[in-house]
Amino acid sequence: MKVFSKLWVFGLLILGLAVPCYAEKIVVEGSTTVLPIAQKAAEVFMNSNPGADISVRGGGSGVGIASLIDGTCNIADSSRPIKDTELDKAVTNGRSPKANVVAMDGICVIVHPLNTVEALTGKQVKGIYTGKISNWKDVGGSDEKIVVISRDSSSGTFEAFGELALKGEKVRPDALLQASNQAVASTVSRTPGAIGYVGLGYLTSSVKAVDVDGVKASKETVLTGKYSIGRPLFMYTNGAPKGLVKQFIDYILSPEGQKLVEEEGFVGLK
């Protein structure tokens, strides 16, 4: 019985240690696409609000939404709308996910400025990136091999392009992978037969953006949903945001916050 008593004392001691007190703070978790917006906004927000403690981590949209349902995060970053199965689980757990759109993700398809191709269909873009089309003459251009430039698989832009333009199919294995939007734009500007894609915020005069399905990529066409390679980015909260969560989301939606959104290569809502 002595052993038994010692065990329970040990258990109670650990119980005591495991229950420390906390100051108010918020946890933001989820989409790796939304991660740079959340990280940058949290950094600037905490600088001007020293009492605020905002912890930001990735993991993916599904992980963020699962954490919101389980109550282990306050804001779930997501690059897609919540699924019906997730909503059902949330409701049975007594949660009511509230969508807060904080930015738009718009991706331009770019070519070398001297390329005669001005427009592509979504099907042609998919064909080029999945390996079914390999020469510019097959899409109305000159007889020249297409040099396919893509972002590396760790980037959110790669993930978004794969979902929106390639409908989940894989990028051809001979594509040249670049680590940043700037590197893609730079490679395309130096390679006459190249095609690449960059976030709308990274479009420069050294490359030419081609229309997709007859729509020119612009802030307006992305915001109105007319341009097909675009999507809203979400921060889901449990019910309407309150307290520090509300202050943080309001900051991201403010002109200053939306400027940060555009600096990170996304399309601001303002």
């Binding site: 052993v3 038994f4 065990l7 329970w8 040990f10 258990g11 650990i14 119980l15 495991a18 229950v19 420390p20 946890v27 978790e29 790796t32 912890s55 981590r57 990735g58 993991g59 109550g71 282990t72 709308p81 919540i82 019906d84 909503l87 059902d88 949330a90 409701v91 049975t92 009511s96 996910p97 509230k98 969508a99 807060n100 759109v101 738009m104 698989s153 760790s154 802030k219 307006e220 915001l223 109105t224 949903g225 809203p232 979400f234 601001g268 809502l269 303002k270």
Partner: protein, 419 residues
């Protein structure tokens, strides 16, 4: 701002009233576009209002659907699974004579969890089986005889706080302890007694858990001493970064078995004094699991998850033949959810004869005995939503005394269906 708020309220009310008809989503888009054209809204505001409204409608419909169900349905979760198994056991006995046994088995489990109120739940589960604490399988045959259904678990759970729970009854193993392998506890065991559980997030990267449980283990309740066990398990989850994480725990388990009549489910390997156990079992059991997300991404290999794990056990009450360990790895998809998802798991295990009480370890590893060494490889392949194929192979042998190894190879091919 007032203008935008007015539009939000109007569109929101309209959408919620009409949300049951999907065609109205298109009409909302047209209305928002007109407001953009007239300069009432910017395209960004229209996008924000339109998207958030559609999401709100989805949320309200889900909530409405849920609240329209009868209260008992809202408060009850039903779950279960069915497994069809082909099994072949190849044994070589001490005289080096081989024996092959091929059988078909089924396992059905059906469970429900009912919310009594916001803080209390009751869980009840039935399953096929004969009463063996380590198995809910039933072997096919016996002239098509009807098979027996047993009570698998029945518990009450009180969650006074989000991080604190009290459970009592015949409980689910997960409510009592965490283990990276089934070295000590077969995963089919549903422990009996009570448990206090704490699971607290300390920071975005760190959470701790603690379980303390008095358990009724040995089925001889005729004596006043023994028949009980006490368990305490403090543990930690630590995310090193987005791709690396650790889970670890140190369990102390004390089984008051000395001079208690051996369980009818004992596999006969523990040291006995006549028909009673010779020793108490006082196990110290550290365990660790290390997970890596997308470990071979740099090489272009699409392996979602890689885990390394291991645990060690020492029976502090005995000085000889009192150790055990298991170690292994797992890679593939983190979960088997659809066609083509796959996972491979390997475990090497060693248990000396008095390392643990021999009514507890995995019943498929050398029939659940102690005094063994074993390799195990499991390949699971997703056949579709909620269904998969599992191939589990054990190669195990005896390490007790100077007797022959008597090795055995167990092959199990399972078709699993969950609902």
């Amino acid at each position: 701002m007032k203008r935008v708020l007015t539009v939000v309220v109007l569109i929101g009310s309209m959408a919620l009233n009409l949300g049951i008809r999907p065609s109205y989503a298109g009409e909302i888009d047209i209305l928002l576009q007109k407001l953009v054209d007239k300069g009432v809204l910017t395209p960004g505001e229209a996008q924000q209002i339109g998207t958030e409204t559609k999401e709100q409608v989805k949320s309200e419909i889900a909530a409405g659907k849920y609240s329209s169900l009868p209260a008992w349905v809202q408060n009850t979760k039903l779950k279960g699974d069915f497994r069809l198994r082909f099994q072949n056991l190849h044994e070589k006995n001490t005289n080096d004579i081989s024996k092959n046994t091929t059988i078909g088995r089924i396992r059905m489990r059906l469970g429900l969890e009912n919310k009594v109120n916001d803080k209390i739940k009751v869980g009840i589960g039935i399953a096929t089986g004969s009463g063996d604490p380590r198995s809910t399988n039933i072997t096919l045959g016996g002239s098509q005889a009807k098979k027996t259904i047993i009570l698998d678990y029945a518990y009450g759970k009180y969650d006074p706080l989000s991080w604190l729970s009290f459970t009592g009854g015949k409980m689910l193993l997960n409510d009592v302890l965490w283990e990276p392998t089934d070295l000590i506890w077969d995963t089919d065991i549903t422990p009996e007694g009570a448990a206090i559980g704490i699971n607290k997030t300390l920071s975005p990267k760190t959470s701790v858990f603690l379980t303390a449980a008095p358990l009724v283990i040995v089925d001889d309740t005729s004596t006043t001493s023994g028949a009980m066990a006490y368990l305490v398990q403090p543990g930690i989850n630590y995310a090193i970064n987005d791709n690396l994480s650790l889970k670890g725990a140190v369990t102390y388990e004390y089984f008051e078995t000395k001079d208690t009549a051996a369980s009818s489910y004992s596999k006969g390997q523990n040291t006995k004094n006549g028909t009673s156990y010779e020793y108490n079992y006082s196990n110290l059991n550290p365990a660790l699991e290390f997970s890596i997300r997308e470990p071979f991404k740099a090489l272009g290999l699409n392996i979602e998850n890689l885990k390394f794990f291991g645990e060690y056990v020492n029976n502090l009450q005995v000085s000889d033949k009192n150790n055990g360990f298991s170690t292994g790895f797992q890679f593939g998809n983190a979960k088997i959810e659809k066609w083509g998802d796959w996972q491979f798991r390997y475990i090497y295990a060693m248990l000396e004869k008095d390392a643990v009480l021999d009514i507890l370890p995995d019943s498929d590893r050398y029939s659940g005995k102690t005094g063994i060494r074993s390799h195990e490889g499991i390949l699971t392949f997703g056949l579709g939503k909620n269904t998969n194929l599992g191939i589990d192979v054990y190669r195990s042998w005896n390490i007790v005394g100077t007797s022959a190894k008597a090795p055995e190879t167990l092959l199990q091919v399972d078709w699993n269906m969950k609902f």
